[in-house]
């Protein structure tokens, strides 16, 4: 039994590592690869939880994660990037070093918070929750340190990966919820994609700062 938790923690830790990888990748293709790796790790983690906890419904969640977020979405985004012709470096707001340091601090915060807040729960559940929270925060961080619309989508999806991981740890989350979350993510992807193309058509760039000029922004 102990071994089961260690393996699930290993997989969650691997997801956290890919989150950091997402933060320091400079090229969009590499960002997408890292995201695919994170999603596949998520699928593995969920599958492992399904097998070790004897919860067969979680296999479906793992399957959805694998096909949708490990394969279809990265491929779709890659095609988008190819069609838009943006293999260049992604413009960042802060340097990689600073972003990684902030990410480190956020991971520490997640750990400290969960230790304090969930003091009554068993330690393995606590650690799983801390890792999931750290992944969510890093996904949010990714959304704000990059200026590119595609990387924002990836940041959003990464947050969602963290949520699914946390939900897997929590017993009794019904499949319906997961399916609906998965579909809403899919819809969000479509919306994002449409927006990306719209922005591109209008401004010849997908740098989201271009939107501000259209609004007559005062900065």
């Amino acid at each position: 039994m102990n071994q089961a938790y260690e393996i699930s923690h290993l997989l969650a830790g691997a997801m956290l590592v890919t989150s950091f990888a997402l933060l320091y990748q400079e090229r969009i293709a590499a960002v997408l690869n890292a995201f695919a790796a994170q999603s596949i790790t998520l699928a593995l983690a969920v599958a492992w939880a399904a097998w070790s906890d004897h919860r067969p419904d979680l296999f479906i969640t793992a399957l959805i994660a694998l096909t949708l977020k490990g394969i279809i979405i990265p491929l779709a985004l890659r095609r988008t990037v190819e069609r838009l012709g943006i293999h260049r470096e992604v413009e960042k707001v802060v340097g990689v070093g600073v972003a990684l340091l902030v990410g480190l601090a956020l991971t520490g915060l997640a750990q400290a918070l969960v230790v304090k807040v969930a003091s009554g729960t068993p330690s393995h559940a606590r650690e799983a929750l801390a890792l999931a929270l750290a992944i969510v925060l890093l996904g949010f961080l990714m959304m704000i340190v990059r200026r590119n619309a595609v990387t924002q989508i990836v940041g959003f999806m990464s947050m969602e990966n963290g949520l699914i991981l946390a939900a897997t740890g929590a017993r009794g989350m019904p499949l319906v919820v997961e399916v609906s979350v998965a579909f809403s993510v899919l819809i969000a992807l479509f919306v994002f994609a449409v927006f990306v193309f719209r922005i591109r058509e209008r401004f010849d760039t997908i740098d989201i700062e271009a939107l501000d000029r259209m609004r007559g922004d005062r900065r």
């Binding site: 707001v93 956020l106 915060l109 997640a110 400290a112 918070l113 304090k116 807040v117 925060l137 949010f140 961080l141 959304m143 704000i144 200026r147 989201i208 700062e209 939107l211 501000d212 609004r215 922004d217 005062r218 900065r219």
Partner: protein
Amino acid sequence: MPGLYASGAALGALAATALLATLVRGGALALVYPLCAVAAIVLGAVDLHVLLTGAEATAQLPIGLPTVGLHLRLDALSAFFGIVINGGVLAASVYGMGFDRAKELTPRVEPLFPLFAAAMNLVLIADDAYAFLFSWELMSLASWALVVARHTDPESRRAAHVYLVMAAIGTMALLFAFGGLAGPAGGYAFDTIRAHPPGPAVAALVLAAALVGCGSKGGLVPLHAWLPLAHPAAPSHVSALMSGVMTKVAIYGFVRIAFDLLGPPAWWWALPPIILGALTAVLGLLYAVLDRDLKRVLAYSTIENVGVIFVALGLALAFRANGQHEAAAVAMAAALLHVLNHSWFKSLLFLGAGAVLHATGRRDLDGLGGLIHRMPRTAVFFLVGALAASALPPLNGFVSEWLLFQAVIAAPALPQAALHFASPAIGAMLALAAALAAACFVRVYGTAFLGRPRSVEANQAHDVPLVQQIAMGGLALLCILGGLLGSLLAMALAPILVDLVGAALPPAGSGPTVFALIAFDPARSVYDAPVIAFFVAIASLTTVLVVHRLSARRTRRGPAWDCGFPDPSPATQYTASSFAQPLRRVYGTAAFAARETVVMPPPGDTRPARFSVVLVDHVWQALYAAPGRAVLGLSERLNTLQFLSIRRYLVLMFAALVILLAIAAVTT
């Protein structure tokens, strides 16, 4: 109990009148005033019945807040203020009956007039915080709409804006006051509040909030700034209601909270009302004596009277806190009688100002003059009001001022050093206010009614319709009767005084004559109005007879004496400004940083010399203009928050999330 039904029916009639008046147009609007007058008579009769028989009535209706309902109660205090209000409403309604059907009735004023009257009555019978605040706000909004009735005038719009802001601040303060009174359990019915008075710290906060809430409605310095703008901006009969009556509702609110709901007082509660009241009294009249607009002068004089009433209420609190119930009764009687008297003479003066405005179309004192020949009846009524407002015996203003000074003279007997030493200063300030009031009304009456007309309009003035003369004459009669029979009025107040401060004035029969008003004991503090009136009459008659005897026995009409050189121009007369100049020199420099400049043209230049006076309203600059600028500047800065990029909004959200998580991590 049947009294409350009658009141309810009359209030319903007022509401129905308001509703009907929104539907009809033209001459049919003239029906509003007779209906209002009838409703006011019914309401006033019920109030009088309750006051004289002590038949208290309560009711509880299943509307209003869920689980609280709507509590109504008509006790002696409400009944007394109800008499004040409905007297004013009746006078204003009778005055309104004289309006020209074709020209002076507008759908902007007539539907709101009954609503305003009904709202004021509702405030008095409210017996829970929700009903009180609801009707209070209804009263504010109705009066605001009446102020903004002449919205084409930018001055009216500014006045209405300032009024609305101040009314909102006042209601907010009252909301806090009732929140404090209700306590954490949330007992909003006044009965519950009475049963559980708040602790000393909460009581202090409630008192401060009540002073702000009721003081802003009544015009207590420094919350008075809206009053001289808004009261004159409304139509004159509404000005009479706002100035003569609505300020009394504010005083009712303060009395209800400070004397009834807040439990036994601490002595220092008395200090804020006394100090603010004395400041208000003096400052209000300094404004009044320097202002050149007839209605604004009257509004400033209202501020002074509200200050006087607050001083009396503060003294009553101090005496009651020290267990000196007889002295507390004197101070409280002074406050309540002044409420009644001021409502009569101020309504009279505003109706008189309305008559002048109607006849001449002017409100500036320097454009009036000589009206005593053209509007003789209005001039007589206005004179009675001015004498009463100057607190001259034997008119009614003197009765309450006399009682107040009796209370001030008794104040050194208070044990607390602060009150002990404050009382001579308060007495001096009240005396100064009384003298300034006399100067103010001499100036108003002298410039507007005496002398020669200073404008074509004043020269062509004519007296107002008979109905309006009846309205003014009735109030003038009340001012005289109230002066002569002040002891009877004080006797009628006895149940309220016993309720609020635990004692009443000595009974009327114990004095030297039947109608003598006795403050403390018949040996040293007696005001015998009929006797004094008798001697005043004898002295006046004797003077008149002697002067007639010694004079040439022939009445000649000639031009007003003008230093021996009759000048055809009325500009050579004393003006309102020139009359005020000595007072401006004495007090204006300190109070308003007054500066006079004379610009003389060089020799040979034909331009006239220019004389100008600059007055600075420190209160407005410090408490209104500066915060206004600060709010504008702050909102200008916060405005940039509306124009951030998506990423920056995300950064803000992320920062908020991380900070909250960090707080949770540190504190739990």
